[in-house]
């Protein structure tokens, strides 16, 4: 994601107290990064579509005892100014279909499908996720997202029917309905041996079904949530098991986010550690600090090609700047459009262009940056850069200060991008007693150390059950 705010360097991280001395680091991998994270131009970069690439990354992660392998979702190809965006990796398989194939060639790693609640039918979602969960022996998860723009809706029967303010109401109703479908199968809770009929009639959905999917070994698929608004955070605090966040590069920021999520979880009647936090991040390691820095600079320049640099600036200026020199200065004129709309699946929706432009201009002038240097400078936070030992120290500190439970790593190159982390960082973590040395469970719920699904916690869980079923 391009963050219009210039990145801040980590302050003195050692100042924060260790509150969870024995806590372990958990890792996941996100395939493939959003926007220009994934470098496709390097000779090392393999196919982004061949199953072999997915299999290699998933198996590497499993060798590294990762909790989970994630796939993202985007239901319409990104556009800019009405034309297909052609500079980044584009084109991917359906997540659940791909994860089902991966389930057969892996044994332990969790399989997380990002699936949107606006343009999916609850019965299809619940059934497909449950199918993946059963076939994988309890390793499935659903990363709930709410992308609701009408532009994406043009690929679906209902079109853009949902008001942005209500995206999480629909998410809540869809998730609650899915949980009821997953709870319908007979077990200790339903000893009469029949399958419960599910009738859910909310104002944003209408479902009446006799479910057909048996219960999985982990009860329900694990629920992740990704979405950073206040509504998104509340939704996660009420209904999710894990948050896939954007707050994991600057410790103070991560701590603030964690405190906010804990407070929201407690307000929702849950134990404060009930929602795990997994920020997305990237890791670059080298033999020496200088080598790691050099490599990080190289990665950034591969990610931000000259064309990408002009595109990113052109997005804020809302015009085609491809004639500009990427190694030259920003355009002398100000953006013509004051606020950006949400077309094209852009991450800059609502950006106030004059403010961003003024900030960028000041930064470029202060540091003498070209367009390309500037885009590299403002392209989000760069994650963890250093020797394997220094990176491991920082990862452990993030976890043991209670700011996160683990990290969801986006490799910058596919399919070899995880090798360094598994071969060099994981052993450092293990040496510090901060990482598992073997899988101890078989399900994703066990890997993550989660409690039972929210609707299945016995008598004491009445509140949680109600919260999780809110809205239907």
């Amino acid at each position: 994601m391009t963050d219009p705010t210039p990145q801040t360097r980590p302050a003195d991280e050692t100042a924060h107290p260790i509150t969870r001395p024995g806590a372990e680091v958990h890792l996941g991998v996100f395939f493939q990064g959003v926007n220009h994270t994934t470098i496709w131009s390097d000779p090392e970069s393999g196919s982004q579509t061949d199953f072999a690439s997915f299999e290699r990354v998933a198996r590497t992660a499993e060798r590294g005892l990762f909790d989970a392998f994630f796939l993202g979702e985007g239901l319409r190809l990104r556009e800019s100014r009405g034309r297909l965006h052609d500079l980044d990796v584009v084109g991917r398989p359906d997540a659940i279909t791909q994860l089902a194939a991966l389930a057969a060639v892996t044994e332990r790693i969790g399989l997380v499908a990002t699936q949107n609640t606006t343009y999916n039918d609850p019965v299809d979602l619940a059934r497909r996720l449950a199918s993946l969960d059963v076939l994988s022996g309890g390793r499935a998860a659903w990363n709930v997202v709410t992308t609701d723009n009408a532009w994406t809706g043009e690929n679906f029967r209902r079109g853009g029917y949902l008001d942005h303010a209500r995206r999480y109401d629909r998410a809540e109703q869809v998730l609650a309905t899915a949980r009821r479908i997953w709870d319908a199968w007979p077990d200790a809770d339903r000893p009469d041996g029949s399958v419960a009929r599910v009738e859910a009639h909310g104002d944003l959905l209408d479902v009446a079904i006799d479910p057909t999917t048996p219960r999985s070994p982990q009860g329900h698929p694990v629920i992740f949530q990704a979405g950073d608004s206040a509504q998104g955070r509340d939704f996660a605090a009420r209904s999710a098991d894990v948050i896939f966040s954007r707050h994991g590069s600057v410790l103070a920021d991560a701590l603030e986010f964690a405190a906010d999520i804990r407070a929201r979880a407690v307000a929702a009647g849950r134990p404060e550690d009930d929602v795990k936090i997994f920020p997305g991040t990237a890791i670059v390691v080298g033999d020496t600090p200088a080598e790691a820095e050099e490599k990080a600079r190289w990665v950034a320049r591969q990610q931000v090609t000259p064309a990408t640099a002009l595109h990113v600036v052109g997005t804020i200026w809302a015009e085609d700047l491809s004639g500009y020199d990427p190694d030259g200065p920003l355009p002398a004129h100000d953006p013509v459009v004051a606020e950006l709309g949400g077309e094209g699946g852009s991450s800059t929706t609502g950006a106030r262009t004059h403010e961003v432009a003024a900030r960028w201009r000041a930064l470029a002038e202060a540091e003498g940056l070209s367009i390309r240097d500037l885009v590299i400078r403002v392209s989000g936070e760069r994650g963890f850069v250093g020797t394997p030992s220094a990176v491991a120290d920082r990862l452990v500190r993030f976890v043991r200060t209670g700011s996160v439970d683990g990290f969801n790593i986006s490799p910058w190159i596919i399919p070899s991008g995880l090798d360094d982390i598994v071969d060099r960082v994981v052993p450092e973590l293990q040496e510090r007693g901060a990482y598992r040395t073997a899988y101890t469970g078989t399900t994703l719920r066990e890997h993550l150390g989660l409690r039972a699904p929210l609707t299945r916690r016995g008598a004491g869980a009445a509140d949680a059950r109600e919260a999780a079923l809110a809205g239907v």
């Binding site: 279909t97 089902a100 199918s131 419960a196 048996p214």
Partner: protein, 341 residues
Amino acid sequence: MSGARLARTVRHAENAGLTFVTFADAVVPAVPGSPASARLDAVTRAAFVARTTTAVGLVPEVPTTYPEPFHVATQLASLDLTASGRAGWLASVTPGDAAPAAYGRAPVADLDREARDVVQVVRDLWDSWEDDAVVRDVATGRYVDRDRIHRVDFVGASFSVVGPLITPRPPQGQPVVLARSGDVAGPGRDGERLVDVVLVGGTDVAAARAAARAVVAADPGARAVVEVQVVLDAAGRTGADRLAELDAAGPWAPGTALRHVGDPAGLLALLAELADDPAVAGVRLLAASLDTDLPVLAREVLPALRADRRTAAPRSGATLRDHLGLTRPADRFAGAARATA
């Protein structure tokens, strides 16, 4: 219902030399409220065995009525990618009120039109990326050539889809589309063939052969496959006894398909009679129980068919289209004047 069991069954089917396996599906159960109606999603099951097999075609049933066509196209393209060109789609139709209630929609009134629209837009979407759309042009920084990725701008009776698909064109270009005779009545836009393989029935061999001939007469490029229900003498019991037991729990597999109940030799004779008609491209064997019938088919039926050159085991590396003698279609958008996408 476990993954291991599913993988074993499909591996046995592949080893037996079957050309393709179908994964039946329905979102609403045959017997509501009964755990005996347990069933996992067909595309997910097919995908699970995509990498545990190398040659056999994988054909999930996905209804044209109610699921989102855009998702259907994405899922089947993904299956074809994962299975290296071995995917098919059994496009079915869902009448009744139970499915629309599950989806919270009014029942579709014109099932024929809906089926035609859905198969058409799925085919359009599969072609929305030309085969060579990914150019990875380092000099200009372009990963794809946007002129080779096209909107479909489909407008049907009950929905519209702009496209393009989020998934590149699958290995077969178009995964093989199968449908029961009459379920998806083509042709599509500009006379396009919507169904590659038509499944036909018939109360006797003559009727089945006639049905197959009708398919080929209407469209010489289509393939006719005869459905044959099979209850074999197996596991120390006669087929007739096994069928009686199945029928006791409600009539087994009602319908107009051909049926063979009895010994493998009788089935071989029936299949030979069918195969003697050039209009019959193949048979879809609907076994009463895979656990019971598949071992007999593998041991006593398929080897004899292969010996007579009436079938050949699928080759790994070949596509389902290859095995069915269907050519890989050109992309409908290739070279088209620049679309907006």
